[in-house]
């Protein structure tokens, strides 16, 4: 009681200095509140954004493993590498199903590709110098580059990553396209191929395999490839000009019809957590995955979607640290001056028998009382300000998300249709609805963080008082005064 009473008297007596300390702490508190609120909001936003992404795992080449004996300067090295690429194992749908039977995998989809020649249509001539395999399951028998067309079957809409990413955009589509796209011999063809062969929606095309079997498909959509990013230099056509898109069942039906037809499968597994990738990979190897393959995740892609928010969060943290360092130094210096000014008082109080501990507690109490008031005011002002800042942050994010939604819908032909797994948000779509309320920005967590930061700062800056009180000899102080 004596300590608090004396502390209160001192605060009232040194109004100017305490107001200055209060203002500094208020500014720090204000900055802390805004920063913590932004940081927490950004963190929620990032978590939510990431959760909007499926945690995807695909199978890719273990290039490091494959290239480890590769010496480009020697013919033998090049041969050995080529052999490795040619001899990697190929996998079937049943292999993928076997892999997918894991506790870590929630669902999966795949694309299933096969090479066919034109029967009723002609291949659009393109220049290609690539004879390297281009994906998982590419066996030496399946040399799609030797055929006119690549028929790619998607197991579901979620598998149609090129449309989701915007590489392909649907330019024409039949009204019922998405109702029938995954249930029969329906295809989407490249706009350039359509123009080359004078094809339009609902036209039927015939393709044939190398054994002469013909297969008929109906065109239900025409897509175009984003030229800026994907057109090969010095080429008339885009890379996908001879890619015909259908569903995986249609490709399976083809391979069932002709066993010589070799297909390549590109599976995507949705996992429960990125932390389980290594365990899953070991499981895949045990189930027969070639060691020249490894698992790749879309974590980086998911991260890249929130990079701007992360930047804001990281900027906030830096700002907070700088504010705390500067604020801490200023408070420390004020405390030093305070102690020097009050040296005589300390001497007198020590002489009349007030212990060092009580005196230290009195000085710290003074600072804590001022700090609590300033922190409360700062938290209030910060809460009001952070609302605006966070709203602005949210508005930008919502805007950017909406733009992305519209863009993906546009890529699929401008129709708002449901996908196989709950609509379009299955990929790359942040859930923005969670952020239309700002009430949770300055919550109890922020206030507790603020309180602990503020009081820690006060205690650290009080070290000057504590050390000085321990060191001062009352007699020396009083002698100096005399």
């Amino acid at each position: 009681m004596f300590i608090l009473k004396n502390a209160w008297i001192s605060i009232k007596r040194n109004k100017g200095r305490n107001i200055l300390i209060g203002i500094i702490i208020l500014i720090i508190a204000c900055a802390c509140t805004i920063t913590l609120a932004i940081k927490n909001t950004a963190s929620d936003l990032i978590d939510s954004y990431k959760s909007a992404y499926d945690k995807e795992v695909t199978i890719g080449f273990n290039r490091e493993n494959m290239m480890k004996d590769f010496d480009p300067s020697q013919e033998e090295g090049r041969e050995s590498a080529r052999e490795k690429f040619d001899n990697v194992a190929s996998y079937t749908i049943s292999d993928v199903e076997k892999f997918a039977d894991s506790d870590y995998i929630e669902s999966y989809y795949y694309t299933y590709g096969v090479g066919l020649n034109g029967n009723s249509i002609e291949k659009a001539e393109i220049e290609s110098n690539s004879d390297m395999p281009n994906g998982f399951g590419h066996g030496k028998e399946t040399n799609m580059s030797s055929t006119d067309f690549t028929l790619t079957g998607y197991s579901s809409k979620d598998a149609m990553s090129e449309f989701i990413s915007g590489t392909y955009t649907m330019s024409e589509i039949t009204d019922n396209a998405w109702d029938i796209a995954f249930h029969g011999n329906y295809v989407f063809i490249n706009q350039e191929l359509a123009e080359y062969n004078d094809l339009k929606l609902n036209d039927k095309i015939k393709l044939e395999d190398e054994d002469g079997n013909t297969y008929e498909f109906e065109i239900i959509g025409i897509f175009k490839e984003n030229e800026e990013e994907n057109q090969e230099p010095m080429s008339m056509f885009s890379k996908s000009v001879n890619t015909i898109i259908t569903n995986s069942d249609a490709v399976v039906a083809l391979t069932n019809e002709n066993e010589n037809l070799k297909a390549s499968i590109y599976p995507t597994f949705i996992i429960d957590s990125y932390d389980h990738v290594e365990k899953l990979q070991d499981e895949f190897y045990k189930k027969g995955l070639d060691e020249n393959f490894l698992l790749q995740t879309n974590e980086e892609l998911a991260e890249s979607g929130v990079s701007s928010v992360k930047n804001i969060s990281s900027f906030s943290t830096t700002f907070l640290v700088i504010t705390l360092i500067i604020g801490g130094i200023v408070l420390f210096l004020i405390n030093m001056i305070n102690i020097r000014e009050r040296k005589y008082e300390i001497g007198v109080l020590r002489t009349i028998g007030i212990s060092k501990l009580k005196l230290t507690m009195q000085f710290v109490s003074e600072l804590v009382i001022v700090s609590v008031v300033a922190l409360t005011l700062g938290a209030g002002i910060g809460a009001i300000s952070s609302k605006g800042v966070s709203n602005s942050l949210l508005a930008n994010e919502i805007n950017s998300s909406n733009e992305k939604t519209e863009e993906i819908n546009k890529n699929f032909g401008g129709m708002n249709h449901g996908g196989d797994r709950g609509g379009m948000h299955g990929k790359g779509m942040p859930v923005v609805e969670a952020y239309d309320s700002i009430d949770a920005v300055v919550d109890i967590k922020v206030l507790l963080e603020l309180l602990s930061i503020g009081l820690s700062l006060v205690l650290v800056s009080s070290i000057a008082s504590m050390v000085s009180i321990q060191r001062f000899s009352p007699l020396t102080i009083l002698k100096e005064r005399s």
Binding site: R13, V348, T351, I352, G353, I354, L475, K479, R481
Partner: protein, 262 residues
């Protein structure tokens, strides 16, 4: 004789110049009798035994104070006299527990200061009065006195009334109670300092040149207060001084000499 004790390498000289020789003789007789039966006689409140003090940064044999042995009794007014540099203030800081003896010991009321909580000792057992008063200038007279009561942990209802009572006791008007001490004269400030030192009724008052900044008239008045405290309230009052006026007033004088003069 008590006041003629001589130590090896003594730096101090106990003149023990009693104002009343008759009284001194009686006391000495009583004291001797007590000493024979008790190593720490009841009326001796403070005993300094071969106390030496050397500053922490001083050389090994560079003492500010060496082998000082004095005894102080309750109900007596003492003066410690000496020229500048003889260690008067050092001795006072040892007695008041602001410094600790390098060698020897000080015994208060039967207990060595080494074993005591010196903060508690300063805010309960002794009252200290300084030449420069050492009041807190931003406080009123009464607040300074109450602060001392608070430091002691004194639990009484009307601290302010008690403080004003103390002020009156040392010759200050009650109307000065709420006056900032800086607006009081030197003599008045010294009276507040004395009142403060009395606030928790200590057994001993230690004063360092309490009249050094005061005129003759005020000095006499202040000394009268100390005299009353010793003789009427049975307190042991020790005044460190080089004022002849003070020496003429006290019951006993201890002289300090410079260590080099021994």
């Amino acid at each position: 004789m008590e006041n003629k004790k001589k130590n090896n390498g003594v730096s101090n000289d106990h003149l023990g110049k009693d104002v009343s020789k008759k009284e001194r003789k009686i006391k000495n007789k009583e004291s001797k009798e007590v000493k024979e039966s008790n190593p720490f006689p009841k009326d001796i409140i403070l005993s300094i035994k071969n106390a030496s003090y050397r500053y922490s940064d001083a050389e090994e044999d560079d003492y500010a104070l060496k082998n000082v042995s004095f005894d102080f009794e309750s109900g007596k007014l003492y003066a410690i006299r000496g020229r500048s540099g003889t260690g008067k203030t050092t001795l006072l800081s040892l007695i008041s527990g602001l410094e600790k003896c390098s060698e020897g010991e000080i015994i208060f009321d039967g207990k060595s200061l080494k074993e005591m909580n010196l903060d508690k000792y300063r805010n309960s057992d002794i009252g200290i009065v300084f030449q420069s008063y050492n009041l807190l200038p931003f406080m009123t007279a009464v607040e300074n006195i109450i602060l001392s009561m608070d430091a002691n942990g004194l639990k009484i209802k009307n601290k302010k009334e008690k403080a004003i009572e103390l002020m009156k006791k040392v010759g200050l008007k009650a109307s000065y109670a709420n006056r900032k001490v800086l607006r009081l004269s030197g003599g008045e400030q010294q009276r507040v300092a004395i009142a403060r030192s009395l606030s928790y009724n200590p057994k001993m008052i230690i004063a360092d040149e309490p009249t050094g900044n005061l005129d003759k008239q005020t000095e006499t008045e202040i000394l009268e207060i100390f005299k009353k405290l010793a003789h009427e309230e049975n307190k042991c009052v020790i005044i460190v001084t080089h004022s002849q006026n003070v020496c003429d007033t006290v019951d006993k004088i201890y002289n300090l000499k410079k260590v080099q003069e021994k």
